[in-house]
Amino acid sequence: MTNGDGGLAVRARNFQLRIGVDGTPFAGWPDRDLLAAMEAAGAKGVGVGCRGGGCGRCRVRVVSGEYTTGKMTRNHVSVEEEKNGYGLACRIYPRSDLVVIWEPLQPGTPR
């Protein structure tokens, strides 16, 4: 896998993503995870950690929108939480416009 397009390719589907309901929107695509879209746009609002679904730093709650997910650590997002709209931004792929809120767990939070 190479990062050949540098984020500049014209893509057919383009969604509006927001961190917080009043957040400045940035562009998202179904094949680019939410965190990568945020970083590529120079947007802020979600902490950037490993970008691999392992550390939980970018844990968010999805307020609105459709999305798919990749495998993420169950230390930070349980099966139940995933059903209730929690996920890791680096493993969330938009299928519509999305609004999310950054809700990382504090270290040592009982699980």
């Binding site: 990062n3 950690g49 490993c50 970008r51 679904g53 392992g54």
Partner: protein
């Protein structure tokens, strides 16, 4: 010093979310070699300049992080002696029979006060792809990817670092090469049992058993730059660097495997002898201690662990 007792970090077992992606990363990118696969799905890897059977074990799971960190000791007698000393210090020690991992003899295991499982062993088979011994070539086969020379050290995060220091220095005969102190005492420790500046390190953290990084040795600063080129070429998640650590003086780059476990490849660092004083750092200079050129911590150093 003639090295006795604990010789070096021997192997590390990591949890990964996606084995196929992890193998591409550790073999094609970092430059390790696959040794074998176990019936339980674990995959055994080694670096090209290691004689022993394996040094990195990957286990697919639904969380990332560290299963265990193991040290090789100089003899079975030494292993038995450590078992007694560890028990006397107050930790419960269990036995892992030979054969639980391919190529490996009997191990002893215990959980240290930071919550991490540590194991000790002596017997291990020589790897098939070991460095040449008679009229040696510089490598048995030309290195690939980043060309990792060996599994070198790890940095672990957890509570009770003061107790961890006491355990490693009084029971396992390590020395503290460097430390960061804050108003609560030891905030971070770099521990060595060899002439390396560190064989294992700890940072105080409220949650037990957390993993910061596993480090692989490279030959020189130029190779760290080549690793950086590979990281960009394959869009590997970069954390920090290329830069230098003030602590240990290693030239370094931090990045993440596809499951979020942090890796380091590094070169250099000073030689430590056990009569050297412990170098110490104060919190107001900690940025330069960790990232010497940037002179400040990045956002992830103290908060991103698996």
């Amino acid at each position: 010093m003639a090295m006795r007792g604990v010789l070096r970090p021997g192997f590390i077992q990591l949890r990964v979310l996606d084995m196929a992606a992890a193998l591409t990363h550790y073999i094609e990118r970092v430059g390790l070699e696959e040794v074998c696969r176990g019936a339980d799905g674990r995959v055994y890897l080694k670096a090209w300049d290691e004689f022993d059977h394996h040094s990195v074990i990957l286990r697919e799971a639904d969380t990332a992080g560290l299963d265990l960190f193991a040290f090789k000791v100089c003899s079975e007698d030494s292993l038995n002696s450590f078992k007694q000393r560890i028990t006397d210090w107050g930790l419960a020690v269990d036995e892992v029979p030979a054969g639980e991992q391919p190529g490996l003899g009997r191990r002893i295991g215990f959980t240290i006060p930071s919550g991490h499982r540590i194991e000790l062993y002596h017997e291990v088979e020589m790897s098939e792809a070991h460095p040449t011994i008679v009229n040696p070539m510089v490598w048995p086969k030309e290195p690939h990817g980043m060309g990792a020379i060996r599994f070198d050290h790890g940095l672990l995060y957890g509570p009770n670092i003061d107790k961890v220091e006491e355990f490693f220095t009084k029971v396992l005969d390590f020395s503290v090469a460097e430390r960061i102190n804050d108003d609560q005492g030891a905030m971070a420790l770099w521990l060595t049992v060899s002439i390396k500046a560190h064989d294992i390190a700890f940072v105080r953290y409220p949650e037990p058993a957390k993993f910061h990084h596993v480090a692989f040795l490279l030959e020189n600063w130029h190779e760290v730059g080549k690793a950086a080129d590979i990281i960009t070429h394959y869009n590997i998640s970069l954390d920090a660097g290329p830069t230098r650590h003030g602590i240990t003086r290693g030239q370094t780059i931090y990045f993440f495997d596809p499951s979020g476990n942090r890796n380091e490849v590094y070169a250099g660092g000073y030689a430590y002898y056990p009569d050297n004083p412990t170098r110490s750092w104060t919190m107001d200079q900690v940025g330069r201690g960790i990232f010497y050129y940037e002179r400040r911590l990045n956002e992830s150093f103290l908060s991103v662990v698996t």
